[in-house]
């Protein structure tokens, strides 16, 4: 076995028993990046020197018997999570040279746990997109088929995990940006409950929807990362003061007596690929064999999720992105004739087309005369969607659905048709709007060998349930063991 192929828990066992060192492991991952990333383009920056220093420090911790589950583990980080002294670009020209003077809370937690940061991963600019094609730096290719997109916006993170160019990764999910790329790359991705993980130091896109979460090679690793990054943070007043369980504990429980809901609206969606549909049917049968019961439930407002999301997210984005004005940090266009011109040319050159489109939609939907018709209306329908989830969870413990209507599309296929691109987010948006947790796990492959993912959604703060179901399914199927050939 190659060291870079290890999962977090496998690497941890070998580090703990001193069969390998973090220095060796980190070196192996860095060499693999060097060899393979020209083909994939998962990384925006690789911190070789810094990573090796962290690895040596981790080895010293281990020598002092201070090993924790993430000590010495090389991770990649989506490039919108602030890393002190190391570039954080959001794949945007406007932050191309930005070096954060502080660490995001999740980074502080990873550092305290002794984890190693090997680099920052590619993404759609400011996390706006479903394919990583909106990166202003370069595209990322799907390790399973390099003519296809890896998904987005955390496409670099998912591709880096799938191609073994890290041991695990952190992404962020505003409308599916962890779950959808995880599904397209055959890895595990979790969007925690809104408020479970601190957003301090996560560059804001849509503040009421954004959450940081793990992208990993298996469900055990997901639980291990969740254990470290979760918890209340005084620096983020929207994080929730709630005890964090040991997510690893829920791995071993069985599924007997568990009720899984199938939201009927998710299965009558136009354009649901037959291979996806078949993979989900098989998954349902597997879960039945494991002792789970199935009930049909209804989330009647599902078909409005895209419309609600593409009002609320741009509204919040237009407000959040107003801060990039060329004054305090980031890009400033040269020689403006006055202040107003400085703002205009800085923003127009600094932001790419999709970001500008969303800023315009958001500004329009919040402007006088349109606020009630757009933002007001969307936020009311959001209430109805939350009610849908509440009544569904009275009938079942967890919801099961596809992650995306079809496997990964080809590069360039949807770039000229933003609405069509948005519609592919239909199954993931609701979890963000309702704040509930969701996980994507591998559940099979299409006829042309493209990964298919399965989504589980739970009630607020019930990530344990998702991890339990996901783990049982994973161990019964072992789809996660299949690797792309690079």
């Amino acid at each position: 076995m190659k060291l870079y192929e290890l999962t977090i828990h496998e690497a941890h066992d070998l580090l703990k028993s001193r069969q390998i060192s973090s220095t060796e492991l980190t070196r192996a991952v860095l060499d693999h990046i060097e060899k393979k990333d020209d083909k994939i383009g998962a990384y925006l920056s690789v911190f070789e020197e810094n990573a090796m220093i962290q690895a040596r420090e981790a080895d010293q911790m281990i020598a002092r018997n201070e090993i924790q589950p993430l000590t010495g583990i090389p991770l990649s980080i989506k490039d919108l999570i602030c890393t002190k002294g190391l570039p954080t670009t959001c794949a945007s020209k406007i932050l191309e040279k930005f070096i954060p003077p502080y660490d995001a809370t999740v980074m502080t937690k990873l550092k305290n746990a002794g984890a190693v940061t090997v680099g920052k991963t590619n993404m759609d600019e400011f996390a706006m997109g479903s394919s990583t094609e909106n990166s202003r730096m370069h595209i990322t290719r799907n390790p399973w088929d390099i003519t296809r997109i890896p998904g987005g916006s955390s496409g670099g993170s998912a591709a880096s995990v799938a191609a073994d160019m890290c041991i695990g990764s952190l992404g962020s999910d505003t409308g599916g940006s962890i779950r959808q790329p995880a599904s397209h790359c055959s890895v595990v991705g979790m969007k925690p409950t809104y408020g479970r993980v601190s957003r301090y130091g996560l560059v804001a896109f849509a503040s009421s929807l954004d959450q940081i979460g793990p992208i990993t090679k298996d469900v055990t690793d997901c639980a291990l990362l969740m254990n470290v990054i979760s918890g209340y943070d005084p620096q983020d007043s929207t994080s929730v003061p709630k005890d964090v369980p040991d997510f690893q504990k829920s791995l071993e429980e069985g599924l007997k007596g568990l009720k899984i809901g199938l939201p009927k609206e998710y299965y009558i969606t136009e354009g649901l690929d037959p291979d996806v549909s078949a993979a989900i049917d098989n998954a349902v049968n597997t879960m039945k064999d494991l002792g789970a019961e199935f009930v049909e439930v209804s989330l009647p407002h599902t078909k409005y999720a895209v419309a609600v999301y593409y009002v609320i997210a741009p509204c919040e984005a237009s407000s959040n992105l107003a801060r990039y004005d060329g004054v305090r940090y980031g890009f400033r266009d040269k020689d403006p004739k006055d202040l107003l011109q400085m703002y205009r040319s800085t923003k127009s050159k600094g932001f790419g087309p999709e970001v500008q489109r969303r800023i315009i939609i958001g500004t329009y939907a919040l402007s006088a005369g349109y606020y009630d018709a757009y933002y007001g209306k969307a936020s009311q329908v959001r209430t109805l969607m939350i009610e849908d989830f509440k009544s569904a969870f009275q009938k079942c413990d967890v919801l099961l659905s596809p992650v995306t209507p079809s496997p990964a599309f080809t590069i360039g296929e949807k770039t000229d048709d933003p609405l069509n691109m948005y519609l592919s987010d239909i199954f993931t948006l609701s979890a963000n709007l309702a704040g509930v947790p969701g996980i994507s796990i591998p559940c099979g492959f299409s006829k042309n060998n493209l990964p298919i993912g399965l989504q589980l959604m739970g009630s607020h703060f019930n990530e344990e349930m998702l991890i339990k179901v996901a783990y049982n399914f994973e161990q019964a199927t072992m789809f996660h063991k299949k690797k792309p050939t690079l």
Binding site: G326, K377, I386
Partner: protein, 96 residues
């Protein structure tokens, strides 16, 4: 709802963006299609429904008002495109 080219220019200006003439038609068409799609929300009766701006109900988050370490002047200015004497520099904003 259809949006006109003039409205796009107006809204872009509110957001301090410039849309160049060459892409104006395309941007207008794309945003119109999105807004027309959003109009499907009008099919839903939302009378007397309270809007949601935040999915998790939290009341005020208070903290003690104590001074703690924060960024130094140098750190805060580190990423500034232009700076002088410990301050950000911007184009002149007051006329004669």
């Amino acid at each position: 709802m259809k949006i006109t080219k003039n409205e796009i220019i107006h809204v872009a200006n509110l957001a301090r963006l410039e849309i160049d003439e060459a892409s104006l038609d395309k941007v207008t068409e794309q945003i119109s299609r999105i807004l027309e799609y959003v109009d499907t929300l009008n099919q839903i009766d939302t009378k007397n429904i309270q809007g949601t701006s935040h999915a998790i109900t939290l009341t005020n988050a208070f903290r003690e008002d104590i001074v703690k370490e924060d960024l130094t002047n140098n750190q805060a200015l580190f990423n500034a495109p232009e700076k002088e004497n410990g301050a950000f520099v911007v184009p002149k904003i007051v006329g004669r």
